[in-house]
């Protein structure tokens, strides 16, 4: 591999990795509070992309479409919580997990019925699809924007968590829900807030995913959701920084498996997950994860 190709592959890895990182943050945040692996996260992401797609198709400017996409996802996410998760607050975690999988299937099929399964072309504005040329190396502008957005969102989330009353309530919930209720805090409202935040993150991830890979379909969240979940676990689920690190590791692994062994490119997912297993064998709580019971963000 010559230097140009190598640099190009580095950029490709960063591009894919930042994508995974952005989505993994949402996964890890909901998990950190509720100890719920929200398998519907990838599908909320799809919902965000579809709402944005519909808004742009209706002729709205892109920024407004993005806001509507985020709003749509937040509404779907909060409704999901109210309808499906709330009745199960006291139930064993496994029931909640199965419900999450059910919600995931429900959303996929609902959008399948409404929009059909044929992939739709997502049109992004030119300023998001720009490509810089550094000699022979091509640098898509998303490689720069996505990490900025990720950092911005990360700081926003951390600010909410550590600098606001709501954040304090969220962190308290992560420790002990019944006690928080005894303190006179409306736990359900705070959990709804967590879902709203998580869904907004998913929507942002979904929209950027659709900008980078402009083909959206109702099942688009399945594979990338799984990868982001793997990234979150790799980094140590519950840890926001871990999710970012995990995302980048996964992105680079995938790209370099293909780059170094093109004949094995069809098995890149296998490599990525094999790597995940390896890490978990030596660090069962992931790279940044502490003892599961003590780690709260």
């Amino acid at each position: 591999m010559d230097l140009t190709t190598f640099l190009q592959q580095l950029i490709n890895g960063a591009s894919l990795g930042s994508m995974y990182a952005l989505i993994a943050i949402g996964y890890t945040m909901v998990y950190g509070v509720l100890r719920l692996i929200n398998f519907a996260h990838g599908d909320i992401m799809m919902v965000g992309a579809f709402f944005t797609f519909m808004a742009t198709a209706a002729g709205l400017p892109f920024t407004l479409a993005v806001l509507l996409g985020i709003l749509g996802s937040v509404i779907v996410g909060v409704l999901t919580d109210k309808i499906a998760y709330k009745p199960l607050r006291e139930a064993p975690k496994i029931s909640l997990l199965i419900t999450a999988i059910g919600i995931s299937f429900f959303l996929e099929n609902l959008f399948n019925v409404i929009f059909g399964g044929v992939p739709k072309a997502f049109s992004a504005p030119d300023y998001l699809t720009k490509i810089f040329h550094l000699g022979d190396v091509y640098l898509p502008i998303t490689v720069i924007i996505i990490p900025i957005v990720t950092v911005a969102i990360l700081s926003g989330v951390l600010w909410v968590l550590y600098r606001t009353k709501y954040g304090m309530a969220i962190r308290a919930l992560a420790f002990d829900i019944p006690t928080v209720k005894l303190m006179g805090i409306d736990a359900d409202r705070i959990i709804t807030l967590v879902f709203a935040l998580g869904s907004a993150l998913a929507a942002v991830g979904g929209i950027f995913y659709a900008v980078s890979y402009p083909s959206i379909d109702p099942l688009m969240g399945v594979i990338v959701g799984l990868k982001a979940f793997a990234a979150a676990v790799l980094g140590g689920i519950g840890s926001v920084t871990g999710a970012v690190i995990g995302g980048f590791i996964l992105g680079f692994t995938e790209i370099f498996v293909v780059a170094l062994f093109p004949e094995l490119g069809g098995y890149k997912d296998a490599f990525a997950f094999f790597f995940l297993i390896l890490v978990l064998l030596f660090r069962p709580t992931g790279i940044m994860g502490e003892d599961l019971e003590r780690s709260r963000f």
Partner: protein, 374 residues
Amino acid sequence: MKKTLSIVAAAALMSGIAMAKDVVVGVVLPLTGPIAAFGQTSKGGLDIAYEQNHKLKNGDNVKLVVLDDRGDKVEAATAVKRLLNKNNATVILGEVASGNSMAMAPVAEKAKTPMITHASTNPRVTKGKKYVTRACFIDPFQGAVMAKYALDNGMKTAVVVTDAKQDYSVGLSKAFKKAFTAGGGKILKTVLINSGDKDFNAQVSTIKSQHPDIIAFTGYYPEAALMVKQARAMGIKTPFIGADGVGFPELVKIGGKAAEGFMYTDHFNEAAASSPEAKAYVEAFHKKYNKPADSMGALAADAYGMILSAMNQCIDEGKAPTDKECVNDKLRNTKGYKGVTGVINIDKDGNAVKSAVINEVKDGKFAYKTTVNP
């Protein structure tokens, strides 16, 4: 007067009872999921053919039962079982993807039920099967057509893109490589992708460092559209050639300008339709859908037509149209069937021997270039 009328009515009623039999054709298609466009367009053509004719010679009604397998192999096999056990299907029509058809074939074979796939081009679909037929050509032919076209246009080196998850793509890549090297071309590299993937930048960067004359893409349209887009974004100007899996409007809708010049082999292009059967179909298609007729729909219409023709032949011989052995025998021995996609002859392995067309994306449309005969 009144009496005769009632007698006539009674007779009509009685014959009605005797005749109002439904012969079930079970259809399995990927109506949703990653390759939904194949299923949807197949269904579109099938509906036209059904509207044109769904009565058999003895007055029986053909009934279509269409099941969606979401493009999944396991679902496809389950759908066949359901069509056999619950709907009592005489014939199974489907699937599009070779991998899915291969999952269905053993089920049909075991139940001794004729199955015809309209669009699965991998040779293994019919190999060693007694009850499986197809209405399309097979990949060794298609791969050879791709290779010959590239070589004839002075392209000597190629990178092959294979979708490792699709039997169709694996088989087609093999066929292309064989024909391309036999014709004096050189395969520089094979890069693998997975259907469902969206990021092909790693593969594209690898291709770029190889400087091939042509990129032979043997997968399906969702990946083709994104890959050609990412390739053009990275400054690769090498032309792409694909096969029947890429010729869908989504290639242009998603690929946009990047898809311009994408060549591919296909079963049908309405611009080349000259037979009365093809013209009638194209006309009905335009009237119903108000868009150009696609090849998947045309193939589905032909597979359906072949089923009807086989059932009618059985009726001519005094057998029931639900006689699976007879229908299968007639399907497997189809000779000179005049279909929408051309004249179809079935060889001893159950494969259709017929011509292919080469199309190219031009101004966002699929322009007809040439027809290649077997």
